[in-house]
């Protein structure tokens, strides 16, 4: 999958799994940051990230290595989309 397609899927996950208002999802851009505490981020906390990881595993069929430090990939939609796209490449 291309990062752009992944990004669209992530926006859907935000609504269906993380309970964001659909109107909010429309405003999101690849540059939008994810973790709480970063200015202008969508404010995801640790609980959200667990749910997001599980949703990503299920939707994209990839396995998240719990022992790896995946935090850098979860910084923004862009980093996350690229990470997921790279893991689904050739799949």
């Amino acid at each position: 999958m291309e990062p752009k397609e992944v990004f669209d899927e992530l926006k859907t996950i935000l609504v269906t799994r993380l309970k964001f208002d659909p109107r909010r999802a429309v405003d999101l851009t690849p540059e939008t940051t994810l973790p709480k505490g970063i200015e202008s981020s969508i404010g995801l906390d640790s609980l959200d990230f667990i749910e997001l990881s599980i949703a990503i595993e299920e939707r994209f069929g990839i396995a998240m290595d719990e022992s790896a430090d995946l935090a850098p990939h979860f910084t923004s939609f862009d980093t996350l989309s690229r990470f997921i796209a790279s893991r689904t490449a050739g799949a």
Partner: protein
């Protein structure tokens, strides 16, 4: 300004744990390094990532309790049987209170009520305070019946709340403690949180990767000091609680709530951290809890952090949720009585970020007089108890 509160006597305790049917089995299991963790057999777990926990494999059939379907209530009855065998309740019914902490209440009954063959009438047993009322009826207690719903810190606050009833002269005897039973409800839940480890529970270990759940019930009988005649297990000197106010399912990164709870408990006890001989930590074995808790204990203990023994028993019996704090309080007093501090099973390579005087590898010969027991729970609950062992 906070006033020192009068100590309250804990004259006896009773328990049922994965180690066995009574308090003696619990203590024996701890000091012999028994492993109370096994594959859960009582309900399906094959679709979950983790299917292990501290399951109580066998419950004694109790007289007059044939029709008790609720497992949580069964655990309470078993612990009460053990307690009453050690100390009878000597008070008028209206002067006996029951104060219990729980994370799940009677939720197993909700599962039963909503199952294909379930009966809606089971649902009344699903109310979180149903087991406490069942215990009160069994004990003939007609005073206050309180259920403290502070999740995994509930057992501590139940004991603290019970002590307040005594200090205020509301009742003369309090049966306090905590309980929780394993059920699919909670196993699925912690599985969804990715909190459970697929390996061993390793509190404060650098390789720690999560917790395992357990089930238990632990009860103490409390009276005012002046009403305690004969032997006692020890005293409750102080209880403190504080909210984190930061996250619903993770501890505050700075542990501010836990630190406040500890200071509050010490204040109530009229003591300082310099008086603490031993710490029973919450120590679940999750990466976050242990790091935060160790940092708080380091701050609180200061220079003495390298010489005050600290343990966690959550690898031994699992995290017994509402029962945990009550079990650990009893463990503190037994350690003081027996002169042995149980070691932290599962801890082999302490995390450098969790440097404390861990009791590691073997039990320690020590007779702690003043113990501090810490607990944390969902919703940002933090509770601490300061206990004093009976004079030997």
């Amino acid at each position: 300004m906070r006033r020192r509160a009068e100590p309250v006597s804990l004259i006896a305790a009773g328990a049922v744990t994965p180690f066995g049917a009574d308090l003696d089995a619990f203590w024996s299991g701890l000091i012999t390094g028994s492993d109370g963790i096994s594959m859960i057999e009582r309900f399906p777990v094959d679709d979950l990532r983790v299917g292990r926990g501290g399951e109580i494999k066998k419950l004694r059939a109790l007289p007059g309790a044939r029709r008790v379907g609720c497992r949580a209530t069964q655990l309470l009855f078993a612990a009460a049987e053990d307690l009453l065998a050690r100390a009878p309740i000597a008070a008028e019914p209206e002067r006996i209170a029951v104060v219990l902490g729980t994370a799940l209440g009677g939720v197993g009954e909700l599962e039963r009520a909503l199952s294909p063959r379930g009966r809606f009438r089971h649902a009344a047993g699903a109310l979180y305070d149903s087991p406490a009322h069942a215990l009160a009826r069994r004990l003939g207690a007609r005073g206050p019946v309180l259920t403290v719903g502070a999740a995994c810190a509930a057992g501590a606050t139940a004991i603290g709340n019970g002590a307040d009833l005594l200090r205020a002269g509301v009742v003369d005897v309090v049966v306090a403690g905590g309980y929780d039973a394993l059920c699919r409800f909670v196993m699925r839940g912690f599985d969804a949180l990715r909190s459970l480890t697929r390996e061993r529970v390793r509190p404060f270990d650098r390789r720690r990767s999560g917790l395992l759940l357990g089930e238990a019930a632990a009860l103490v009988m409390m009276v005012r000091d002046e009403d305690a005649h004969g032997t006692r297990l020890g005293r409750l000197l102080g209880h403190g609680s504080a909210s984190d106010g930061s996250h619903i399912a993770a501890p505050d990164a700075n542990g501010r709530g836990l630190e406040l709870a500890i200071v509050s408990a010490l204040d109530e006890a009229g003591l300082t951290a310099a008086d603490v001989d031993f710490v029973s930590a919450h120590g679940t074995g999750t990466p976050l809890n242990d790091r935060v808790e160790a940092a708080v204990l380091q701050r609180v203990l200061g220079r003495r952090a390298s010489e005050v023994p600290v343990n966690s028993i959550k690898a031994s019996v699992g995290h017994t949720m509402g029962a945990a704090a009550a079990l650990e309080a009893v463990m503190c007093l037994l350690a003081g009585r027996e002169g042995v501090v149980p070691y932290t099973m599962g801890l082999e390579e302490p995390d450098s970020a969790c440097q404390l005087d861990h009791v590691i590898g073997n039990c320690r010969i020590a007779r702690p007089r003043v113990s501090l027991s810490t607990s944390l729970g969902f919703g940002g609950c933090n509770a601490a108890l300061v206990l004093e062992a009976a004079d030997s």
